[in-house]
Amino acid sequence: MSAPGSVLGTAILLLAALPAAAQEVLVTTEWVSNNLNNPKVRVLEVSVDPGVYEKGHVEGAVGVKWHSELADPVSRDIVSAASFEKLLSRAGISGDTTVVLYGDNNNWFAAWGYWIFEIYGHKAVRIMDGGRKKWEIEKRPWDTTVPSHPATTYRAAPPNLALRARLPDVLSVVEKRSPGALVDVRSPDEFAGKVFAPPGIQELAIRAGHVPGARSVPWSKTVNEDGTFKSREDLRKLYAEVGVDGKTPVITYCRIGERSSHSWFVLKELLGYDVRNYDGSWTEYGNAVGVPIENPAGTVWTGK
């Protein structure tokens, strides 16, 4: 074979491999079902509704408590490296284990988990497309025994904080000191400032509205009825409609930071854009002193 021919051939193979590699961040329920006994795979469930995991989970899945094991329970921050290592060691995960995450509530918290795993540099992480919802729709069996795996000694990589946006980063984009596109994944009413938060929710901000320049793309537009993500083409079009096409770095936010990790996953892992998750989200921004806010509905905090 001639030299240009082999270069072309290699290029074709690489190009063919790329979408396959991009495909790999999602696994189907079918794949999980077939790999339940695969020693190189570990399934973790990240659900927040009480009792959901215990009443029935994918066989062999380890339950992860989001509030205490993926978030710092005292200080508002992501889980520390030490606690993360303890969690993974307990679950019997080693550096080359393929970790599959899924959960309730549309995989929001599983997506947060994915983001944390990426921050701490785990090599192979996947999300089970559709989460609990799809598994239930397909009437696959649930298990109620809590598995025990032989413990390992897991070492996390130093945190990759390029995946995380902090308040100064967001302000930098608002004040046009650095390029960026902000994506707000909350409901249209919250975005417009009509309400501070959905009814009955306790975590409020003192001001309503959105970060100036942010585009509204509610997370629900990125998934199908059965909980699976829409096709890459549809997602690309969805974000292109609001001017998010990957040419500028993106920052996603919501109210607390969990739903925004879901959209972070879509933009970064499925579409390959440069994205950071602003986990402080509106509960930080809307309570911060002296930051610019866009409040179309004009709702004012009446300080009752």
Binding site: P50, G51, E54, P198, G200, Q202, R259
Partner: protein
């Protein structure tokens, strides 16, 4: 009002049963509902049937000990607690392999234990004796056609308001610092099961020793006709009801939530009171952070509401089949006592975050100290109530 003839009764019972099953199927596939809601309805119906058939009345279990030296209903309660304790432990073993690791089984009614439960239990105990039934008792009586039960339930709503008004200071001063004592975390599973069963056995032995029972009736040969009468018409013995309730309690815990009848009533009372503007906006310790998780605001009835509805319908079904369904007007004095007792029921249930079913039954089955403390409160309240009834009659 004379109850309708036998075939009308049976037709009505069949209709109610068919309605329950059909609703169960509809809920199963309804968007936003699902298996859990369907199970709640059917579990509630089973609970209502058992309560009505075995005349399982917590109020009489306590009251008749003092008033009539009748131990039968109390024994039934002890049997329910014992059976449920075993069932819960089986579920614990699957969900929480190591009880001493610091994690509690989710959704189990394990609550902070302090003197607020004695106060709540005493109020509830007094209320249930005065109104002739605890909250579940009034609900199943409602299914039998009682028209004094609505008075008790109306009083319960007012009682919840009263309890809500004192909740915040009570929480801050008492509940927030009260210890949550889950026995298995201290004694292990085997140790706590042995200790609790021993205590229940001791209480049962005391009842058997010091309160006289009935001599058994001569046994009739069991033909199909006799068997049908025993199941559908005659009352079931209290111990049989107790076993059924222990089993239902375990099933409910495994599939949905522990047995309880006050969650929806409390929620509705709070919604009504808030709409009328006199309740505090936030209840400390109860309005917890939900995170991004959406709260269930779209449905008229929560799953507990579905359970309670099932309870009333199940009781109606059993009463119709047995010929015990009848619109009973009751006497004016009965309505007044029901209303007054109901207020005490609601108050006691609010500050104890549950009633004889939710706090006592489900708490003790879950090996929580809170269940036992509430039980002590109930005993003292019922004793006082029995004395009051005697003086009133």
């Amino acid at each position: 009002m004379v109850p309708p003839r036998r075939w009308i009764r049976w037709a009505a019972a069949a209709l109610v049963a068919a309605g329950l099953l059909a609703s169960g199927l509809i809920l199963h596939d309804a968007p936003g509902r699902g298996r859990s809601a369907s199970f709640s309805l059917l579990c509630g119906a089973a609970f209502g049937i058992v309560l009505q058939r075995s005349r399982f009345c917590f109020a009489s279990a306590f009251r008749d000990l003092f008033l009539l030296s009748d131990r039968r209903a109390a024994l039934g309660v002890l049997v329910a607690l014992a059976v449920g304790s075993v069932g819960y432990q089986v579920v614990f073993g699957a969900w929480v392999p190591d009880p001493s690791a610091g994690h509690m089984p989710p959704t189990a009614h394990i609550a902070p234990a302090s003197w607020h439960l004695l106060l709540g239990g005493a109020a509830f105990g007094l209320g249930m004796v005065l109104s002739g039934g605890c909250i579940s008792g009034n609900l199943y009586r409602l299914g039998e056609g009682s028209l004094t039960a609505p008075a008790a339930l109306a009083g319960t709503v007012a009682g919840f308001w009263a309890g809500t008004l004192v909740w915040n200071p009570l929480y801050v001063r008492v509940v927030s610092t009260a210890p949550v004592v889950w026995l298995p975390s201290h004694l292990g599973y085997a140790g706590s099961l042995a200790a609790q069963l021993a205590l229940l056995a001791l209480l049962g032995a005391l009842l058997l020793r010091y309160m006289p029972g009935l001599s058994p009736r001569p046994a009739r040969p069991v033909t199909l006709d006799v068997a049908c009468r025993k199941v559908f018409v005659d009352g079931w013995p209290a111990w049989a009801g107790g076993i059924a309730i222990g089993v239902l309690g375990t099933f409910a815990f495994l599939r949905t939530r522990p047995l309880g009848v006050t969650s929806e009533i409390g929620r509705a009372s709070r919604a009504l009171g808030s709409a009328m503007g006199f309740l505090p906006e936030r209840l400390e310790g109860l309005d917890l952070m939900a995170g991004c998780r959406p709260l269930d605001t779209e449905h008229l009835l929560s799953e507990n509401g579905i359970f309670v509805l099932g309870l009333v319908l199940g009781s109606a079904l059993a009463a119709l089949a047995a010929g015990e369904f009848r619109l009973r007007l009751g006497r004016p004095r009965g309505h007044v006592l029901s209303l007054a007792g109901g207020v005490l029921l609601g108050f006691g249930a609010m500050i104890s975050l549950g009633c004889t079913v939710g706090t006592m039954l489900s708490g003790i089955m879950a090996f929580s100290l809170s269940g036992w403390v509430f039980l002590a409160g109930l005993l003292s309240g019922a004793w006082g109530g029995a004395g009051l009834l005697r003086r009133l009659s």
